[in-house]
Structures are given as structure tokens and as C-alpha cells.
């Protein structure tokens, strides 16, 4: 029976592969049709509201105006400070640096706080207290501390991405099956072996759940940081266009931010699928 189960699984896999080469892809994965259809519906509604119903361009610019602004911004060279590439690059760089620092620290401290209960209990009130602060409120302070450069944006992104990873890592540590630990102890595993071969791998699904949240938050952190004062970046562009009532380019930046956020989250999903393939069932939504 067991052999049968494995064979069925393998059969399904090869079935999926052969399906991918034929025209039945769309039938097999209906979302490949439905997802673009949603985009078409949204664009049509937008177009109706702006062009047909005649909403003023400074409130709701027409889709084609936004597309023009997007194309104009992306047509310029990446090193040109007037191009969307340049400002996207600045924002993504801030977000990635902050994400790396914040989630790295969160993962490390999450393990440490869960591993040494005294440490965890002593720090817990401060962690909860700090977590309940609206961290975007720190943005103006960042300008005072770090000025208009990227340091303040990296800092605020790090602070924002730190918590979801920390909390998930602690939850992951506490969720390790006690029998896995007993197994290691019954084999005279050292503390380091227990940590590196049992506990940390067991925490990976939780870690990636935290990283998925943090990846999206990292863009928010960088943009909010730029709102408070910056010399470059998509957040700064948003403020500029808003003040000069250039609404079509403003929409272009918003669209770009959405795409970047999606790509960040998708990238985390790909890394997760590689390192956490065995937990795919638990995180099936990520396969979307």
C-alpha cells in the first residue's frame, strides 16, 4: 500500500510535467487565466472612472497617462537621477539592507531568547513594549539622527523587520517536537549539535513565515523613512509628486512599489521552496 502511495505521488508529478508541455496548462492551473482577468477588470474599471466618467486628472489620472509616466521614468538610464530605476534602486537597497540586518538580528535573538529562558523572560516586557510602538513614528527622529542619507531608512527598516522574524523564530523554537530533542539526547548529542541539526532546521518554516512578512514590511519601512526626509528614493518621489500635484507619475511610483513588494515576497518564497521543500505542505499558500 505504501509503495502504491509513492507511485501515485510520482505519477501525479510526472503528470504535471507532461501537462506543462501541452495546451492543458491553463486548464490545470486556472489561476493563470483568472489572475490576468482580474487585472483587466481593474484596468477597465479604472479607465471607465477616469476617461468615460471624466474624473479630473489630478484626482484619478487615466491608466494610459500613468503608463506614459511609467515608461518615461523607466526609459532613462539607471544612473540618471531622474529615472525611476535610480530611485527604485535606492529604495530597494535601503529595504534589502534593513531587511538583512533586522531579520538577521531577529532570527539570532529569537533563538537566543527561546534557548535561555532567563534571557527571554528578562527581555520579554521590553520586547512587547517596543513592538506595540508605532515604529513609523520613529521616522522623523531618524532624520534628526542620520540626516537625509540612507542610514536612517536602513535603521527604521531593520527595526520594522526585526519583530516578525524574532517572534516567529521564538514560536518556532518552542514548537520543536520534544521527541526530536529526546532523540538527540539519547544519542549523546552536544548542545551545538542539538541546535544546528535539530532545532534550527525545525524552526525554518517559522523563520520563512516571518521573512515573508518582513520582506513586505521592508519596502514600507524604506518608503516611510524617505517620507520623513530623503534625497532619493521612491518615497521621496511620492512626496515630491504629491506636492506638485503630478498625480500620474505618483501613480506610476505606486504601481512600481506594488511590483517591487510582490517580487520581494516572491523571492523569499523561492528561497523557502529551496531550503524548506519538506515543509511545503504546511505553507502551501506560498506555492501560489
Amino acid at each position: 500500500m505504501a509503495v502504491q502511495a509513492v507511485e501515485t505521488q510520482a505519477g501525479e508529478q510526472s503528470g504535471a510535467r507532461s501537462g506543462a508541455s501541452s495546451g492543458s496548462v491553463l486548464r490545470r492551473y486556472p489561476h493563470l487565466t483568472i489572475s490576468p482577468a482580474i487585472l483587466v477588470v481593474l484596468l477597465t474599471a479604472w479607465w471607465l472612472a477616469s476617461d468615460v466618467l471624466g474624473a479630473p486628472a489630478f484626482i484619478l489620472p487615466a491608466p494610459e497617462q500613468v503608463l506614459q509616466a511609467l515608461v518615461r521614468g523607466l526609459a532613462r538610464a539607471p544612473w540618471d537621477h531622474g529615472s525611476l530605476w535610480y530611485h527604485s534602486g535606492v529604495t530597494v537597497w535601503e529595504a534589502l539592507l534593513g531587511f538583512a540586518i533586522g531579520s538577521g538580528a531577529g532570527a539570532f535573538l529569537g533563538i537566543a531568547l527561546a534557548h535561555w529562558p532567563i534571557l527571554g523572560k528578562s527581555w520579554y516586557p521590553y520586547i512587547v513594549g517596543f513592538q506595540s510602538l508605532p515604529k513609523v513614528a520613529l521616522a522623523p527622529l531618524m532624520v534628526v539622527w542620520f540626516g537625509f542619507g540612507i542610514e536612517g531608512k536602513v535603521f527604521i527598516t531593520a527595526v520594522i523587520t526585526f519583530f516578525p522574524v524574532l517572534v516567529n523564530m521564538m514560536a518556532g523554537y518552542l514548537a520543536v517536537e520534544p521527541e526530536r530533542i529526546e532523540l538527540a539526547r539519547s544519542c549523546n548529542a552536544s548542545e551545538w549539535q542539538l541546535l544546528s541539526k535539530i532545532i534550527i532546521p525545525s524552526c525554518l518554516p517559522f523563520l520563512f513565515a516571518g521573512l515573508g512578512v518582513a520582506s513586505v514590511l521592508s519596502i514600507i519601512g524604506a518608503v516611510v523613512g524617505e517620507f520623513a526626509g530623503a534625497s532619493a528614493g521612491l518615497g521621496m518621489l511620492l512626496m515630491q509628486y504629491n506636492q506638485s500635484l503630478e498625480i500620474a507619475p505618483l501613480f506610476a511610483v505606486i504601481v512600481l512599489l506594488g511590483v517591487i513588494g510582490f517580487l520581494m515576497s516572491h523571492a523569499v518564497g523561492l528561497v523557502e521552496r529551496h531550503y524548506c521543500f519538506w515543509a511545503q505542505r504546511a505553507n502551501a499558500w506560498r506555492e501560489l
Binding site: E177, L183, S186, C187
Partner: protein
């Protein structure tokens, strides 16, 4: 406890070799903050000889699993003494390997990597054990699954892999905590037969915790019946069914008498469940 000594003595006097496990006055209490402490094991005396298959039967919460963890060196006991192979028991040793209720296979490792985990933990040369691991996997019918991941295996196959993981270091003693309890009846019978075959080929000593009276009698040389909490030994039954046994032995009168005896013992001391 005198009854226990009486039941255990004839065997130990008949067998002049020193027992592999010798427990005297073994007790384990759990401290409960703000409440009376819980006595899990109360003054146990028993010995288990080299090559013996001994089951421990008793109701849920009678301390069977605690006993096994104590013997595996995972839990410190409160009083009394336990000797393993003539030496006082101090923590886990390579001489004893544990098989748990669930397979506890790490999902990110292949079956072979899982089986070699104890070798890694004990920093033994992996190369030297890989062949024997593959041989053991072949023996339990998992040869073709060595490089598969646990989620590709059925429950019975996973528990077979867990058994191989315990056997890979060639321990003298197998400590099994209801290893087949979560499996369906058919798979369970099949694994019982395989375990018997492995045991009789390798002549390892097995301490086997189970809820099932039939399983205990079918597998064992002796069955330790435990009372309800606080767990102590109600009696020790010697199962004189001839070996090798196959499933037909279950239908014999002698098997039935043993089962009835064991059931009455357990009923008299708090029942089975």
C-alpha cells in the same frame, strides 16, 4: 514488593550470567510546584537478561514511558539504583538505543541520512556505517527508499526506518516505547513479525512498552505488568510459548491462558486503560 522478588528470583538464579539491566528500589517522583509531588515509579525491582525480550504493560499514566526514559538515561531517577551491564546508569549510552511512539524522522533528511543521525551525533565515521545502514534498510524492505524523504513513506515504513536508526549503532539494548501503537492493525502485526525476526537474528535485548496484551505475550519472553499510578510492578509473567512463533500461536489455548492471566492481573491493579 516481595511478590516481585519471588517472581524474578527463579529466573535470575537459573541464569548465572549477570543481568544486562539490574534495577533495585527504582523510584521516580516528579516535583509539581505548589502541589504534592507525583510518584511515577514506586520502588521497582527487576532484572533483564542479555538477549531477553521483555514487555512492560500497564494502564495509561502508570509510568511505563517514564521507566523507559529512565532506562535510556534521558530522565534522572529519584532513588534506588540501576545498573546497565554491571555499570551504574549515568545518562544515555551507545549501548542502548530508543525507538519512540512516533518515528521522529527529520523531514529535511533522506531516510539514509536519518538512519545515520546517531552516527553523526556520536562523531563516528559515517563511511564505516553507511554499508551496514543500507544492509539494515534492505532487511526491512526499504532499500529503494534510502534516498527518499520521510514524507514519501507510509507510517509503517517510517517506523521501520526509525527501527533501523536504532539498530545502526549495533546497541545491545533496544528500548521501544509503544513503537507500533499509531499504526493500523495489519501493519502492526507485520512489524511485530519483523521485529521478532530481527530480534532472533541479532539476539539483542529488547524492553518493549505496549498497551496491547496480545502484542506483549506474542513478542515476549517475560511480561512485566504494572499497577496504576503510582506505578509499581504487579507481577512478572514468564511466557513459555515455543519459538519461533508465528501469528497462529495467538489462537492456541496456552496463549489464551497467558492473556487471561495478564488481563486479570491488570484488572486487579487498576485496569488496562
Amino acid at each position: 514488593m516481595n511478590t516481585v522478588r519471588a517472581a524474578a528470583l527463579p529466573l535470575s538464579s537459573a541464569d548465572t550470567a549477570p543481568p544486562l539491566i539490574l534495577a533495585r528500589g527504582l523510584s521516580k517522583t516528579y516535583a509539581v510546584p505548589g502541589a504534592a509531588e507525583v510518584v511515577a515509579l514506586n520502588n521497582l525491582d527487576f532484572e533483564i537478561h542479555d538477549g531477553e525480550f521483555v514487555s512492560v504493560v500497564g494502564r495509561s499514566g502508570c509510568g511505563k514511558s517514564t521507566l523507559l526514559k529512565v532506562l535510556g538515561g534521558l530522565l534522572p531517577f529519584t532513588s534506588g539504583s540501576v545498573e546497565l551491564n554491571g555499570k551504574p546508569l549515568r545518562g544515555p549510552t551507545p549501548e542502548a538505543a530508543m525507538v519512540f511512539q512516533s518515528p521522529v524522522l527529520l523531514p529535511w533528511r533522506t531516510v539514509l541520512e536519518n538512519v545515520l543521525l546517531p552516527i553523526e551525533f556520536r562523531r563516528l565515521p559515517r563511511r564505516a556505517y553507511e554499508d551496514s545502514a543500507l544492509k539494515l534498510l534492505t532487511m526491512v524492505g526499504l532499500k529503494d527508499f534510502a534516498r527518499r524523504y520521510p514524507y514519501e513513506l507510509s507510517g509503517g515504513m517510517q517506523q521501520r526506518a526509525a527501527l533501523v536508526r536504532a539498530l545502526v549503532q549495533d546497541p545491545r539494548l533496544l528500548l521501544m516505547d509503544e513503537p507500533f501503537g499509531a499504526l493500523d492493525a495489519m501493519t502492526r502485526e507485520q512489524l511485530n513479525l519483523e521485529l521478532m525476526r530481527i530480534w532472533s537474528d541479532s539476539r539483542k535485548t529488547v524492553v518493549f512498552i505496549t498497551h496491547s496484551i496480545a502484542e506483549a505475550i506474542f513478542l515476549s519472553d517475560r511480561v512485566i505488568a504494572m499497577t496504576a499510578r503510582p506505578g509499581s510492578i504487579a507481577d512478572v509473567i514468564t511466557v513459555d510459548l515455543p519459538r519461533p512463533r508465528d501469528l497462529s500461536v495467538i489462537n492456541t489455548d496456552r496463549f489464551g491462558r497467558h492473556a487471561a492471566h495478564l488481563r486479570s492481573l491488570l484488572d486487579a491493579h487498576g485496569g488496562l486503560f
